[in-house]
Structure formats: structure tokens, C-alpha cells
């Protein structure tokens, strides 16, 4: 029984083992199959990874190529940009710059990279610093109106746009600057400003000219009495009369007032200067011999005045009065520029220009020139003042003899009216030289007559018709001429003069050029010549010699007499004209 149970037990165990074996074999077979499948899937996955890696590598290479191309693009843009480009770090070091930027410092980019402005321009204030700090502080782009750099060719002006450049972590570590060189624009703006100033000045001068034009005529008429009568009074006074000095002072004051009017007229070009052949040596010598120069010397006892004159100096065509005024003004200014002891040197010389001579503001044409230099070793003129010293009413220092602030402006205008040029050269503390170039002429100097005395100028019963719209002028002229032995008649208009002459011939007409109302002196003379050809006449005017005066002289009128005139001048001109015709 127990054996049977044992056998059954053994059989059951055996069956169980068989079942287990069979199940495990199945499991093993499946597991192997699954392992193979897993292996296959593993390889498949590896292939998948490899494909992904390959794809990502390809993309990375593509990005790398793209980045390299972009980098080259940016480099080209920066290197070949006509604008200046620079990268600046937090410490102000230039980290990357293009050629245009480096050129500002006379360098190449490697010479600038890694350096600060202080390294590049030691001792100069850094014009980039303020903008850099502003961008670093605000983190915002900034457009700077202008940054000025001191370059070899003068100041350079840049218009700079700055952009903050954060790093990959978002930290602001760099600022990019793009700049345009606006120096030309800046200069153009400066030139525009200067032009505007000149326009403004011109408008001011025009207004001044209008005023001067209106008053000059009347003023000169009024001054005539002050300037003219003293000669007559003096001729009647005993030589030791105590009044003689006062009357002379009164006459000089009148003459100075007349000079101011003349300055104004010169400045506003209301008159064309009378031209005659003159020699600068003569003018300089006359000035050095004049009472005005004596007075100047007495005011500046420590100054040595030296003239160095070229004995073969060319003549020139010009206005002796204006040129004399020029010499006087410049000499006086030179003396005033020397505080104590010093030297004022007037030099004349010839200069033949085979090619035009270029000055910063003017080109002098080729030709022969008389050159006058007035040099002093005084305080000099500050560079900032130099462009302005020829402006009227420039009052940095006292200039000119008239005391009106017009002296230097008149000098310049006179030189320009003579088609010349005046050049200023000055260094503060070392002195100033004015050099005047005036076109030369080959015409010889006229022979100078010895000055006649009033007695020699007396009339010889010649008749003179004074034609002037001003009663005072008629009275002065009539009085002077009558006292000196001339027969005088007066009329107030050109029309009256014509009428008068139709019935009564006269030896000489003293014609005022501008008359109101009625026809002027030229028209009067034209009409008179129609019925009295060869009628002798002189022209009188409160203005300088105008085109109408020139025309009248062309028709046959003699000398031009400018108001206000002295009695001596008046009879001298009349006598001269009468004698010229007689001879």
C-alpha cells in the first residue's frame, strides 16, 4: 500500500516536473525569441539614435556654416562700412573697431583694439565716455548729436548711435557704436552760419547805408560852414590874434566829423572813390610828416616807428584820401597794440605774382602788386578775435582814428575797393602784421603843383554861377568867392540855372550834383551844353565821386569838389578849372 502510494507520489512528482519542464521550455523558447526581438529592437533603436545624431550633426554643421557666413557678413559690413563702427567694453576699451574708426586715430584696427581713448590720445578728455556710461546705466540705445575728436586736419565731428549688447547670459558687457563723420556737414553748417552772419551784417550795412546816405548829404552841407568859413575868418585876422587857435580847432573838429561821414559812406559803398595815380611811398612819407603822426608819436614815446621803402615801388591807381586813412589807421592800431616799448615797421615792396596767390578766404589774381606791411611786436590778436577784427563796431580793443569802431572795417573796404587784399598774421604775445596787396599801375605820377596861397587864387573878374538847392551852401560859396574877387550869382535849381544862362553867360558853373527838387547836376550840365557848348563847370557833392559825376566830367566838367570843403580848396579848384581852360 505504502509502495503504491510512494509510486503514485513519485508519478505525481514526475508529472509535475514534466509540466514544469514543459512550461519552462516554452518560457525559455519565448524568452530567447523575445531576447532576439529585443536585440533587433535595440539595434533598431541604435539605428534610430544614429539617424538622430546624424540629423543633428548635419543641422549643427548647417548652423555652423550659417553662423560662419553671418560672421563673415557682419565682418564685411563692419570692415567695409563707410561709417565708423566700434565695440566698447565696460572699461571703455575698444574691443573691435573697423578701419574707418581706426583712421580717426591714424591707426589700423589692431592698433586700436584693446586700448582705451586715454591710451590712444593721452591727456585729452575722452569724448566717448559720457555716452558709454549713459548707455551702460540706462541699458537703452542712445543717439549722440556729435562727438568731437581732435584730428590732424582739425576737429572731427561724429554723429554716433550706441546700442547696448548683452552677452549670452543677458548681462550688459559691451556697447556697439555706429558713427558717421559729419565734419563736412558740421563745417557746412558753420559756413552757413557764417553766411547768415554775413547776410545779417550785409543787411545791417544796407540799413546803415540808407541812413548814412540820407544824412550824409545834409550833414556835409551843414559841415561846410564849419569847415569853410575858418579860412575866410583867418585871412581877416591878424597873425597874433588869440582867436586863431580856437578857429583852427573848430575847423579840425568839422573836418573830423566830415571824415566820419566819409568812413560811413566808404563802408556802405555809397561812393566810388576818386582814382588817381599815387605812390604808397609818398603816402607813407606824407603821413610820417603829418601832424597826426606827430601826435601819435607823442602818445607812444616808447615806440620806434621804422619805414623801409622800396625806392622803385610801383605806382597804383587809387584814392589818396582813403589810402592815407588806411595807412593812418593801421599805424595807429599797431602803436596801440604795444603796451610799452616796441617797434612799428612800415614796409613797402613790389611783388610780381606769376600765379594766383591763394589766401584762406581769397585768391589774389596773378599780376604786379604794391605791397604795404605794417608790423608791430605788440600783444598780438587772439585767434578767436582774428576773423572778427574787420567787422564794423568790433570793440575788443580800440581801433581806428575816428573812434567810431569803423576803422578796420573801412581799411578792409578800402583795400577791396582797390581790388586788393589785406592779410592778417598774428600770434598772441608776439605781434601782428597786416600785409596789403594793391594792384600796381604803369602810369606815371602826375606832376604836383606847388600849393597856391589864397591871394594867388583870387578872381580876375570871372563870373561864377553857384547852383545848389541848399541856401547855406549857396551863401557860403557866394561869400567866399565874392570876397576873393569873383562875380557870383546863385540859383537853387538846375532849371533856374538853365534859364539864367540863357540870358546871361557865365565863366564857370559850380554845379551841385544832387538837388531836390528838380534835375540833378549832370542833367543840368547836359542841357546847358546844348546852348552853351564848352561851358566850364566844376561838380560839387556831399557824396563821393559817383558814376554821374564821372559822366559829367566826361562831358567836359572839371574837378570834383567834395563837401565839406575849405575856402582854400574851393577857390583852388575854381581857379584851377578857370586857368586850365584859359591855358
Amino acid at each position: 500500500m505504502s509502495d503504491q502510494r510512494s509510486r503514485e507520489s513519485q508519478q505525481q512528482k514526475s508529472a509535475a516536473l514534466e509540466i514544469e519542464n514543459r512550461q519552462l521550455r516554452n518560457e525559455l523558447r519565448l524568452t530567447r525569441a523575445e531576447r532576439e526581438s529585443a536585440q533587433q529592437k535595440y539595434f533598431e533603436m541604435v539605428a534610430l539614435f544614429e539617424a538622430q545624431v546624424e540629423e543633428r550633426t548635419r543641422q549643427a554643421l548647417q548652423w555652423q556654416r550659417l553662423l560662419r557666413r553671418k560672421e563673415q557678413e557682419v565682418k564685411r559690413l563692419i570692415d567695409f562700412s563707410p561709417a565708423v563702427v566700434f565695440y566698447q567694453d565696460l572699461k571703455g576699451r575698444f574691443r573691435r573697431v573697423n578701419g574707418e574708426f581706426a583712421r580717426l586715430f591714424g591707426q589700423t584696427p589692431p592698433g586700436v583694439n584693446g586700448r582705451t581713448y586715454a591710451d590712444l590720445c593721452p591727456g585729452h578728455p575722452d569724448p566717448f565716455r559720457k555716452g558709454l556710461l549713459q548707455v551702460l546705466e540706462s541699458g537703452q540705445p542712445l543717439l549722440e548729436r556729435a562727438v568731437s575728436l581732435e584730428g590732424d586736419g582739425g576737429p572731427q565731428h561724429l554723429l554716433i548711435s550706441r546700442i547696448p549688447l548683452p552677452d549670452t547670459r543677458g548681462q550688459l558687457t559691451m556697447v556697439i557704436g555706429f558713427g558717421l563723420d559729419v565734419t563736412r556737414l558740421h563745417r557746412s553748417e558753420e559756413a552757413q552760419k557764417a553766411l547768415n552772419e554775413r547776410l545779417e551784417f550785409s543787411q545791417k550795412m544796407e540799413a546803415l547805408g540808407m541812413v548814412a546816405g540820407h544824412v550824409a548829404h545834409d550833414l556835409n552841407n551843414m559841415l561846410s560852414a564849419i569847415v569853410c568859413y575858418p579860412d575866410l575868418i583867418l585871412s581877416q585876422l591878424p597873425p597874433d590874434s588869440p582867436c586863431r587857435h580856437r578857429i583852427l580847432t573848430m575847423q579840425r573838429s568839422g573836418q573830423k566829423a566830415a571824415a566820419i561821414v566819409q568812413d560811413l559812406l566808404t563802408l556802405v559803398r555809397r561812393g566810388v572813390p576818386h582814382r588817381e595815380v599815387v605812390n604808397l611811398n609818398e603816402l607813407v612819407s606824407q603821413y610820417f610828416a603829418s601832424a597826426e603822426f606827430g601826435k601819435l608819436k607823442s602818445f607812444h614815446p616808447g615806440i620806434e616807428f621804422i619805414t623801409e621803402q622800396d625806392p622803385d615801388l610801383y605806382n597804383l591807381l587809387g584814392s589818396p584820401v582813403h589810402l592815407n586813412s588806411t595807412v593812418m589807421n593801421l599805424t595807429s592800431n599797431a602803436a596801440e597794440a604795444i603796451p610799452g616799448r616796441g617797434i612799428v615797421r612800415l614796409t613797402t615792396r613790389n611783388e610780381r605774382l606769376d600765379t594766383p596767390l591763394a589766401f584762406p578766404e581769397f585768391v589774389l589774381p596773378a599780376g604786379s602788386y604794391c605791397v604795404l606791411s605794417i608790423q608791430d611786436n605788440g600783444v598780438g590778436i587772439a585767434p578767436s578775435d582774428q576773423p572778427r577784427i574787420f567787422e564794423p563796431f568790433f570793440t575788443k580793443k580800440t581801433m581806428g582814428t575816428s573812434g567810431t569802431g569803423l576803422g578796420m572795417a573801412v581799411v578792409r573796404t578800402t583795400v577791396l575797393d582797390h581790388r586788393g587784399w589785406i592779410h592778417l598774421s598774428s600770434r598772441p604775445g608776439e605781434g601782428t602784421t597786416f600785409t596789403i596787396y594793391l594792384p600796381a599801375t604803369h602810369e606815371p605820377l602826375p606832376r604836383r603843383k606847388k600849393a597856391a596861397t589864397l591871394a594867388e587864387l583870387r578872381g580876375r573878374n570871372e563870373s561864377v554861377l553857384v547852383v545848389d538847392d541848399s541856401p547855406e551852401q549857396r551863401e557860403i560859396a557866394s561869400d567866399v568867392l565874392h570876397r576873393l574877387g569873383y562875380e557870383v550869382a546863385t540859383v537853387a535849381t538846375g532849371e533856374d540855372a538853365i534859364e539864367y544862362l540863357r540870358h546871361q553867360p557865365m565863366d564857370l558853373l559850380m554845379l551841385n550834383m544832387i538837388m531836390d527838387p528838380g534835375i540833378d547836376g549832370l542833367e543840368t550840365y547836359r542841357r546847358v551844353l546844348q546852348f552853351r557848348p564848352g561851358q566850364r563847370a566844376i561838380i560839387v557833392s556831399g557824396f563821393s565821386e559817383t558814376d554821374r559825376v564821372v559822366e559829367a566830367r566826361r562831358l567836359g566838367a572839371g574837378a570834383f569838389l567834395k563837401k565839406p570843403y575849405t575856402a582854400e580848396r574851393l577857390v583852388s579848384v575854381i581857379r584851377s578849372e578857370l586857368d586850365r581852360r584859359t591855358n
Binding site: 523558447r29 519565448l30 529592437k41 533603436m45
Partner: protein
Amino acid sequence: MSGRENETETHEPVNGLDRLLAEIEEGQLSSIRKVVSEVIAVLASPGATVRELKMIIEIDPPLAARILHLANSAFYSRGRSYSTIEDAIILLGFEATLRLVLSQKVCELFTQGDAVESYSRARLWRHSTATALLSRLIHRREFGVPGETAFACGLLHDLGLVIADQFRHQHFVAALKESFAGQRPLRECERERIGFDHGEVVLALAERWTLPREVIDCFKYLRDPFAGTGPHTRSVLSLFVANSYCRAHGFEHGGIASARGPSLEDALSAIQILPAALDRLGIDLLEEITQLEAKGLL
């Protein structure tokens, strides 16, 4: 939208399986439909690739997170870190990952709901998992085939109960109580209360989700495995055996009464499995369940 919100308060039977299916499409189940359908398709396909599985997981971020979390758990990772789904699949194994995906997704449905007497969804999940594992073991050890579809069938065969509980809760609870009280088969009570039983629900769902024919046949003939004569009879009988064995050996789903069906012995005989062989598989089942519990998966 929850199925409970649409439920009527009457005790009248509610007919209309189509209506229930429409509600399922709009509810929580719709979110697992895609994953479950695709995983089962991959399980049934011997030529499935890692890429297919990876894509199933990647498009479901919560699922991907759970798979990565599992791969990085102390049990699997052994101190290493896995950050990609590919790494996780290599670590866990292709088929194991598939099963995990399916389990994790289906498990979502079994984590809610209250217990009704001895019935609870948690117990139901334990029963479903055991049935799935045993069904797979039968296929592997006895038939020498992978049995992955059998695993899916085991996991889903009682899904009808969860759906009825979810979407027809009151009627289902009433049916359940009635079944317990009268020791009547639950299916009968469900048909009376709801208009259809949970077996019909899971079958309709499988057809609606166009799951493989083998799965549909398993659900269709589970209560009467000898009725089917098609190519999947063995699978049906295996599921029947696994279900019966689990209910009889500590993995019951709450003592729900069933209609009398064929005997386990007849089914075993039909698929030519000795009872001793089934007992042997039962031992291995226990071992696997123990391991799952150790991994925190059950």
C-alpha cells in the same frame, strides 16, 4: 463631462447602449481610447517598432512622465538617471513597456469610486491584473506564444463594470446591491436596471474602438466560451480559465454572482491543459503579483 451628471433619478431601466457609448466618447474614457487602442494594436503586431511605441507615449505627457518616473524609480534605475523615452524603453524592455503603458492607462479608470459591500474598483483592478497575467502565462507556458493580446483582454474584460459604475452609477449600485441581496447574477440585475449588462458594454466598446478581433471575441464569448467556434476559441477559453481561476484563488472582484457557466475543468480539457499545470502557473502568478506590488504597480 461625468456620466453621473447625465443620469436620470428614476429606477426605470435605461436602454440605449449607443447613448452610453456616445457619453463615453465625451467623458474621461475618451482620453484613454487612443492609447489603449494603439497599445493593443502594437501588442498584436509582431513587427511593431520602438518608434511606434515611443510616439504613443510621447503624445501623452502625463503618461510619458509616469513612464520616466518608473524608469527612474529605485527598483529600475539602480542609481542612474534616464531622461528620454528611448532610454526608458531600453531599460524596461519593449513588451514590458507596452504592458506598463496599458496598465497605467487602464488603471486610471479603476482608481475612483466607492466600495459597495464587497465590491470595489480597487479589488476589481487587482482581479483584472491577475487575470491578465495568468492569461498571458497560459499562452506563454502552455501554448508557447507571447500572449500579449491575452494580457490586454484580461486587463479589460471587466471594464464594463467600471463604465456602468461611472456612467450609470445609481442604477449600477442598485443592481449590485440587488445582486448581493438576492444572490442573483449581476448581469440580470444590470439588464433590469440599466437595460444592458457590463459584458455587453465592454463588447460594444471594443467594437466601437475597433480593437482586434481576438479581443472582441474574448469579450463576446467570455460567459459562454463554447459558443464560439472561430479562430480565437483558445484565447476565449484561456481568458475564461484565467478569470475563473483568479476568482477562485483570492483575486475575486468582490463576490459578484455570475450565471452558471461551463466548468473550469471542461474549459481546461478543451484547451488541453492539465489542472496541475494550471496550479503550477498559479504559483508563478502569485510571484508576479508579489513583484508588481513590490514595484508599486499594483
